[in-house]
Amino acid sequence: MKRMSDQAQHKEDRPSPDEHLDNVSSAHRPLDLAAVRAQLQSKTGKQYWRTLEELACDPDFEELLHREFPRQAPSEWDDSVDRRDFLRLMAASLALAGLSGCGRAPEQYIVPYVKQPDGVVPGNPQFYATAMPFGADAIGLLVESHEGRPTKIEGNPDHPSSLGATNVFAQASILDLYDPDRAQTATKAGEIQTWSQFLDAAQSLASTLRATRGEGLRILSGIINSPLLAADLQNLLTLYPMAKWHQWEPAVGDGTREGTKLAFGNYVNTVYRPENAEVILSLDSDFLASGPGNVRYMREFYRRRKLDQFNGADRLGLEMSRLYVVEPTPSVTGSSADHRLPLRSVEIEQFARALAAKLGLGGSGKLAHDTEKWLDAVVKDLKKYPRRSLVVAGEQQPAEVHALVHVVNHALGNVGTTLYYTEPVEAHPVNHLDSLRELCADIDAGKVTTLLILGVNPVYTAPHDFDFASKLRFEEKLKGKKIETVIQVSPHFDETSQYCDWHVAESHYLETWGDARAFDGTVSVVQPLIAPLYRTHSVHEVLAAFTDKPGLSAYDAVRDQLKAANPSADFEKFWRKTLNDGVVAGTAFAPINVSLKFNPASLSPAKESTSGELEFLFRPDPSIYDGRFANNGWLQELPKPVTKLTWDNAALVSPKTAEKLGLTHSIPSRGGEHGQILSNVVDISLSGSKVTAAAWILPGQAEGVVVLPLGYGRKKAGYTGTNKGFNAYVVRASNALWAASASSSVIRKTGDDYPLACTQYHFNMEGRHILVSGTLDEYHKNPNFAHEHEELPLINDSLYKGEAEFPYKRDKWAMAIDLNSCNGCNACVIACQAENNIAVVGKEQVMRGREMHWIRVDRYYANTLSAASGKSTGDPSEYQPALDNPDTFFQPVPCQQCENAPCEQVCPVGATVHSAEGLNDMVYQRCVGTRYCSNNCPYKVRRFNFLRFQDWETPQFKLMRNPEVTVRSRGVMEKCSYCVQRIDKARIEADEKNQPVADGAIATACEQACPSQAIVFGNANDPNSRVSKLRAQQRNYQIMPELNSRPRTTYLAAVRNPNPELESA
């Protein structure tokens, strides 16, 4: 009887199939808790339900069920099925499919390649050209694919912004593809939705919008430099003429754009040619490590820094260039400067004005006496090389500085030689801050009904005074939301997603078709390497969903667009060539002529700095940028170039300011200099908001400057990125987007200490023969200067005769690293990590000194007091004047592959042995993990798996790993192998042809990624190889040769080219 009544009740509750169909298009109904309660009360015995919605017989949920399992869903059938049958079918389908219906069943093949695909040899990787869009640039890539799995990213030599090299972001982006925390499907208010449901919703929204001609539709994106997306957006704006497109790129300043507008009257794009410049002056520009074209600029710049003793081919027969950098905080570019002047950000504008004035261009700037003398010398130097100098301004500098720099470059005649102007690369250049402000105003005014957020995370990145979250979230006062529908497409379910009605998981660029423009206008086709791992979709597909062609695939769209732009007879051939080359031929922008419409004298007086005040600067983080890479473990664990911090950001203060504020570091025993540093915690109150940060003392920073790196403190980034560091966006206001001045009272010590993971704290070489540097003058006088203080052992005294006893008959691998070309950009570190399956260990382990990087980049400050003197411990918190502006040098240290290796002699089981080619091989299977080799390694390049650091479970990471490199287990030692898998491959290929391995046939991962070509690998037995030529130079030296370990990795001494005028002063 009871069952009967239950049944009866159910029958009544269950809506009829017809009702369902009606409900499909109806808006989402809030959960009716009263209904839930009623249901629960009416039930006896055990009841199971999946969600509260089901219990409440929420029609949306039932609809979802039916759509997920259409064959079992009686509502889709026209004949009636009684409840029992329905439940039986449902139970069966649920039992079979579980609730894992959210993901796709993996396709599995038992027999691999019955029909071998063209060109595929199982075990041999293939390379496909694609491009990674990044800001107003795209870097061309060749991606290594093993049986359909992209595993490693290399630069595309044919692509103008890569030239075969990459940077950390491109290298690490492969990990983003396999990030298990990515959003995996579309959701509506947090509930999983199918793509067709989204399409339905989008189409119904579109039909409503069409009626109002797009009234209330707003689109927010980052910089769009994809012609396809630009066309999509244009299409949308044509379809909905009342709609508006806003852009917000948090870490790219408007100064660059607005500077050109100020100087020329309209937006233009500036392209530099650093290789043509004899003298470069950078005004707070980190053009070698960030901003569009940085990878190429690095290549070009360092081409002029190579010193070839025997012929000038590498340097185009020209003398070494000279770089002056004026900057508030040490950057990668500043660290390789011949002269570096730390100035506050505000003072840089004065400096630019003074520069223009000194060149007779009008206006004036107020400078301190010393600075003025410095500027005089620079101006003299700039004038010495008419048409062959270059002045660059930083992305974070205001428009005025950029305009002044354009004027100066014109006056110096540089336009056309060291830089040129083109049409903007961005599809639609606007002032981003104004654009976002306008959007916020419109939302507050209630003008926005639908907001489409494309790939950006404004709740996290917008200036805090805009309070973007309030624009999206439910407002008590309004009893609703300001915007009816917010749709976001983004790779992660981030801070913004939680306020959005719809969230569409965005595909990675390696999963979808697209295109992008490089810094010089060259268009590349973004070619996918793999079908989307999850139910993700591209921005193009989302935009198309609002048009009348919702199904148009990105592939067709890209092809159609390319076809229209290149009406050639044989489009297929053109298409194949484009895909093969990775660039669309002939799409680079031609230089345009611009006319100056700006007079420095017309500038209103500049802000002056008050010495008592502190200046807070906001900068993108060198590793995780604006926060978009927060969940990337490789980048999180990457020691930042100058600070060597990992996993955290910190408020960077200059040593002098730290002394004034009483900020210090202390070194705990756990971790110590190679791992953990305790730093003082400070509260920083700026523009009505407060943030708590760890303070880090940074030598070389301008006095009174506090840098707050952006990108950290994320609340919803994923497992890796959430709650790391502090969120500098919290104190970033729209009126002080890049620099904020405040009295020193805004920074207050809390009395707490915070542990920071720093991989290299000690900055002094202690007078050891580790990093040798000199000046160009010294080099000319004595090319052998690198060996002046060397204490060479008498090789004949050694019991181990080395090569005399065991000659390397065929190949003798060697690496030469030109320290003159290294600026510490870290591309090699990530490239090595990707190539060699190197584990990420996490902050806790880094703090214990257990990071696993096979190649590290050491940073040393010259002319500082050493610990040996007893006066210093090499600790920046012990102030010494040399730390105000130290000469900074970087030294990449992979395994030195010693010929007389200290590690080999002490391994009890022969797990590290010498190969016939002179490699110091590591045999993981044989290693028992005594760590004796590491103790005996004078260079400390060995890394030990103290715990099981590799993630063996996450299936995504299994796909990512390089199948040619062992995934190490716990308890074994590992280290740089000179990418032995690449050597073997090249040797096998050469052997097949019965030829010697050609020079350049092997590029180690670090060498291949290096934008400045500082790392050269090859056969030292071949006198014509590049490495032999470098080794033959007198600049070539070994680290600590007195140890008689005879490293195969050698270094070429760093040579700086200081201005004699400034040297004497």
Partner: protein, 461 residues
């Protein structure tokens, strides 16, 4: 008494401080020693001590279990400090294990009669210390289940250990030393086991001791063979005393790390080992004679002699410290000079000063006859020396590694809970074995004591 101190080793002083208390007969010696094992009831204190040491042994087991589960990362080691507590403890325990063999073998060959009453438990201590030491090289490896790679077994791959590595020498040195020490100890036990068999109070004891006694009947032929074997083993063990710690010092001396790479290490390590070994014998002998009333067998003469050995070896160690510094400075090698500077002023300098205090400064008090004869003071001093020797190994192993060649890789070391758990656990294990030893085997050689009775009675005549 100290005012008119008689010349050392005069008959006068021998009489005043005999190696055996007066009035003992063969029977009294046998009864006194065997009663500890056979008849005396187990004291409450023994249970307490055993429970405590068993608790620490359990802690060690847990620590090692956790280590095998997680990996050596649970310890404080890192890069650059690849060796931490495990190796410090290993060297320390091996050092302690030196005294037993030295006392039984070298002093035996040198015909030092006073060794008789202490050699048995000193040898046992040696064995237990070597057992504790032996744990560490195994568990400190990253993959202990592969540690057998270090043995020259006939692998199908034709792979051998890498014989240039001092760690392989260690394997041989320690295993040889352990084996010879065990044999030496056991051979010396045979007559006593027979005595225990003969005095056994229960059938099971009789059976067990009987089997262990291997059919000893005390015939002249037995004694003849026994003494030849004992002499041979003593001869075999003697070079081992010197070689084991020399080999262990090679672990460091062969390495190129500043602070390790020095030729003075072998003799200096051996002296240090004997130093700490005698300190440990004292640390055990003093409570033992008190607890079981063995003052007649372990007399002030023994304690005095051991204190003198400690003083002498302590001075050798001090000489080692001095020359380590002198040679570093004299060589002008910048890494070695830096090391000296780091020892004195570096972040770990307080450990170095503590080491100097424990190993050099405080033991100078042993020059005083009065203090040598103050049992409590002697006990405390033995603990100080043991601490000092542990610190010495810590300074050598860990602190040398914190700042070696490449300044960018300098780091620091801090032991974790598991480091301490393993260390204290092995101490517990060691003490537990000693507690078991005194309950089931004669802590003093009955046979040799009987000989001593005969000899001393002759002397007195």
């Amino acid at each position: 008494m100290s005012a008119s101190q008689p010349p050392i080793d005069s008959p006068e002083i021998r009489r005043l401080t005999p190696v055996l208390g007066p009035g003992h007969t063969f029977g009294s010696v046998t009864d006194k020693i065997s009663s500890i094992v056979l008849t005396r009831p187990t004291s409450f204190g023994w249970y307490i001590g055993f429970a405590l040491s068993f608790g620490f042994t359990a802690l060690m087991t847990i620590a090692i279990g956790w280590l095998f589960t997680k990996g050596v990362g649970i310890w404080g080691i890192n890069i650059p400090i690849g060796w931490g507590f495990a190796i410090v403890n290993f060297v320390w325990w091996i050092g302690i294990g030196h005294a037993g063999t030295l006392i039984s073998a070298i002093l035996f060959l040198l015909n030092q009669k006073w060794r008789t009453s202490i050699n048995r438990f000193a040898e046992a201590m040696t064995l237990f210390a070597v057992a504790c030491a032996g744990i560490f090289p195994l568990i400190h490896t990253g993959r202990p289940w592969m540690a057998y790679y270090m043995f020259p077994y006939p692998s199908t791959m034709g792979l051998w250990p890498q014989f240039r590595s001092p760690l392989i020498w260690d394997v041989f040195a320690v295993s040889t030393y352990g084996t010879v020490s065990l044999l030496f100890w056991f051979v010396g036990l045979i007559p006593d086991l027979a005595t225990l068999r003969d005095h056994a109070t229960t059938k099971s004891k009789q059976l067990i001791y009987g089997m262990l006694a291997m059919g000893w009947r005390g015939s002249v032929r037995h004694w003849h063979r026994y003494q030849s074997a004992y002499l041979l083993l003593a001869g075999l063990a003697t070079p081992l005393v010197l070689s084991v710690h020399s080999v262990i010092s090679f672990d460091f001396a062969v390495g190129i790390v500043p602070g390790w790479h020095t030729t003075i290490f072998p003799p200096y390590f051996v002296a240090g080992a004997i130093y700490s070994g005698f300190a440990m014998v004292l640390s055990i002998a003093i409570p033992l004679r008190k607890a079981y009333g063995l003052e007649d067998f372990i007399t002030m003469r023994h304690l005095d002699n051991m204190a003198k050995v400690m003083l002498a070896t302590g001075l050798i160690v001090a000489y080692g410290y001095f020359f380590e510094f002198f040679l570093s400075l004299y060589s002008g090698n910048k890494f070695d000079v830096f090391l000296v500077q780091q020892r004195l002023h570096g972040p770990y300098s307080h450990f170095y000063y503590a080491l100097i205090l424990c190993n050099i400064v405080l033991p100078q008090s042993l020059w005083s006859y009065r203090l040598r004869h103050n049992v409590v003071f002697l006990f405390l001093m033995s603990l100080v020396v043991n601490t000092g020797m542990w610190l010495e190994r810590f300074v050598i192993v860990v602190i040398s590694l914190t700042r070696d060649f490449t300044p960018s890789a300098w780091g620091r070391y801090q032991p974790t809970f598991w480091d301490w758990a393993t260390f204290t656990g092995t101490i517990g294990f060691f003490v537990m074995l000693l507690f078991l030893f005194v309950r089931v085997l004669p802590a003093i050689s009955i046979a040799e004591m009987r000989e001593l009775v005969a000899e001393t009675s002759e002397e007195e005549k």
